[in-house]
């Protein structure tokens, strides 16, 4: 093996204390990779007791700014103990490096990083931030509502290309996952219900069970949650990144309202796509229940559909479908709002994207609960 001098690791920095006398010898490589052991030993060293000490730097084989700073640190440490320190035999280049760190380094006893806020202040700050979010969210909602009204007044100004693009990505591309999950949901409900229904010989009521639960509750909710995870997060990340790279500001300077180009098409597209996806989820969910009904309960397809027609009123279907546009508006608004909340760097994009998904799912479920209350009050 060829001997590469630069590859052989230099001896770590070290200090040799005299048994008697006042001469301390510095040895080895005082470089950034080799001073760590010495630094850790420093506190435990028993320095000679004399008032005048000599540091002999002749044994230092290499030095960089880290080593020079540590040497300076040692000199200052000794001087603080009331001793006079003389440096000797230091090579000229090491001497100049020492001068450099003495001139540029932080002053001895310079304040470290400022302490973080206290508990009370932290609580206050969190509350204030939360409050600002609420106010900001309301302002955004108002702005979006105004933009919607404006574009309703002048429909020619609606940008159809981004609407179609969003319909494609948020709607069409979500078909496979939405279909699969609601199919499985239908299967699971029928399967779970099968045992109970069989006990009472009420096999045929599997159509009521699957139909009502899918159409009224599960299909709209499941679809909304999938879309919030798929598209709400994408909206937040896209707008957040655009804000970070000043693309949003660029739009403003060109005279295009970001609201009009970025937010409105998303709201519109999602409000069209989510009801359609919900219908699709209804169909596949009921189909899943139907398959399971035949396999587990011996309810044939024709029987199932006959019962389904009797059991499920049009209002059940419409109740489920009617929630979808509201959920869509919530998801799109929260996603876009959190995107605009991005400030600073990549970190912030990640944080706001997470917040957008959590918030939109939370709000969708709250809205769903409110719908239930209202519908039972209206006796639908």
């Amino acid at each position: 093996m060829a001997l590469d001098p630069s590859a052989s690791r230099p001896v770590d920095a070290g200090i040799e204390l005299p048994a008697a006398g006042t001469e301390i010898r510095c040895l080895g490589a005082w470089t950034v990779g080799a001073v760590a052991p010495l630094e850790r030993r420093l506190a435990a060293l028993r320095w000679p007791s004399g008032p005048d000490l000599v540091l002999d730097g002749g044994g230092i084989s290499a030095m960089d700014t880290a080593g020079a700073w540590l040497l300076l640190h040692i000199v200052r440490l000794l001087e603080q103990g009331g001793r006079r320190v003389t440096l000797r035999d230091l090579r000229a280049e090491h001497e100049s490096l020492l001068g450099l760190v003495r001139a540029r380094g932080p002053a001895a006893g310079a304040p470290g990083r400022p302490a973080g806020p206290g508990t009370l202040e932290a609580i206050g700050r969190r509350f204030w931030l939360g409050w600002q979010q609420v106010i900001g969210g309301l302002a955004f909602l108002g702005e979006a509502a105004l933009a919607v009204l404006h574009s309703l007044a002048r429909p020619a100004r609606i940008r159809w290309r981004p609407v179609l693009y969003n319909l494609h990505t948020a709607g069409f591309n979500a078909l496979p996952i939405t279909g699969l999950l609601s199919f499985l949901m239908g299967v699971v409900i029928a399967y779970q219900g099968a045992g109970q229904l069989q006990r009472y010989g009420a096999n045929i009521f599997v159509a009521d069970l699957v139909g009502l639960s899918m159409l009224r509750e599960l299909a709209p909710l499941l679809t909304a949650i999938i879309v919030a995870g798929r598209s709400g997060s994408a909206f937040a990340a896209q707008i957040g990144t655009m804000k970070m790279t000043e693309e949003v500001d660029a739009l403003r300077t060109i005279g295009i309202a970001p609201m009009e180009l970025l937010v409105l098409p998303k709201i519109l597209a999602l409000m069209i796509a989510l009801p359609l996806l919900t219908v699709y989820a209804d169909v596949l969910g009921v189909f899943g229940g139907m398959l399971m009904g035949r396999a587990q309960l011996g309810v044939g397809f024709e029987q199932f559909i006959d019962r389904f027609e009797d059991a499920i009123t049009l209002s059940s279907y419409l109740v489920g479908l009617g929630k979808a546009p509201v959920f869509a508006a919530i998801i799109a608004l929260v996603g876009c709002f959190q995107g605009f909340q991005v400030s600073g760097g990549a970190d912030s994009v990640g944080r706001q994207t997470t917040v957008s998904v959590v918030q939109s799912i939370f709000l969708v479920i709250i809205a769903d609960a409110l719908f239930s209350v209202i519908f039972s009050w209206l006796k639908i």
Partner: protein, 267 residues
């Protein structure tokens, strides 16, 4: 920048590129390029946009692999090294990226201290102090240390990027477009900074740049890249006497002339 590690005398090659070729799909970016960077010099790589300067830099620092040829850094072949094998080399060089590439979730001081925290076992206090030295060396006020990158101006961000590149006291420093996007005052401040770093710390530097003023003021040797080849290597005086049409165009355009006149006036 380790002053006493002079195993190789000044002037010995520290980076050797031999018969290097790079392709992007069908396009041949570098066609049989050979270059060397010598210890202790400031070597600049110039050429029109898209001629493969930054690609060459990325190949030297192991971010990209050439199609053919060899690159030796500190006497060691780097083409084909995996990340683990490359680590000892990477600790010996510092890279300043064109747009800073600062970590936005860390403060300036944490950005500069990150390589130290990652690769040494020094105490946190010492790392903070070393970071403060590097921040001061890069010409920033001490108060910059507690700020986040997005609170800084473009020029300050470049200086932080430089401070981070200096964190591990590298012997070799790569600067990608260090003055791009700076106002003339900050840019000439950067010229001074590069010169003083070379003088104080004995660094070898490779600079990829378009800045003719920077070239005239700091570069010891310059290589002009174009049409996939090295069109010329030499001092700025030698290159401005070149009769290759592309090199002449580069140095005798309106901007080239102004920078040269300025350089002559200062001598």
């Amino acid at each position: 920048m380790t002053v006493a590690q002079t195993e190789a005398p000044a002037g010995a090659p520290i980076v050797e590129i031999a018969h290097l070729s790079t392709r992007f799909g069908a396009a041949l970016v570098h066609d049989d390029i050979s270059l060397e960077i010598r210890r202790g010099e400031i070597f600049a790589l110039v050429g029109s946009s898209g001629c493969g300067k930054s690609t060459l830099l990325r190949e030297i620092i192991l971010l990209q692999r050439p199609a053919a040829g060899s690159i030796r850094v500190f006497g060691r072949e780097v083409v084909g090294l995996d990340d683990e094998q490359a680590l000892p080399l990477r600790r010996k060089w510092g890279v300043m990226f064109e747009r800073g590439a600062l970590f936005s979730s860390l403060t300036v001081s944490e950005n500069v201290g990150l390589p130290l925290r990652e690769h040494t076992r020094l105490s946190d206090g010492l790392i903070d102090e070393l970071a403060a030295i590097k921040i001061a060396l890069a010409g920033l006020p001490a108060s910059a240390g507690a700020k986040y990158p997005n609170e800084l101006s473009g020029g300050m961000r470049k200086r932080v990027a430089l401070a981070r590149a200096l964190a591990l006291d590298p012997e070799l420093l790569f600067l990608d477009e260090p003055t791009a996007g700076l106002d003339p005052l900050s840019a000439s401040g950067f010229d001074e900074l590069v010169l003083s770093l070379k003088e104080l710390l004995g660094l070898t530097m490779m600079i990829v740049t378009h800045d003719l003023d920077l070239l005239w003021r700091v570069a010891d040797r310059v290589a002009v890249l174009g049409e996939g080849h090295v069109l010329g290597v030499g001092t700025m005086e030698q290159l401005s006497g070149s009769d290759h049409p592309l090199v002449r165009e580069y140095f005798y355009g309106a901007r080239g002339r102004a920078a040269r006149d300025q350089a002559w006036k200062q001598r």
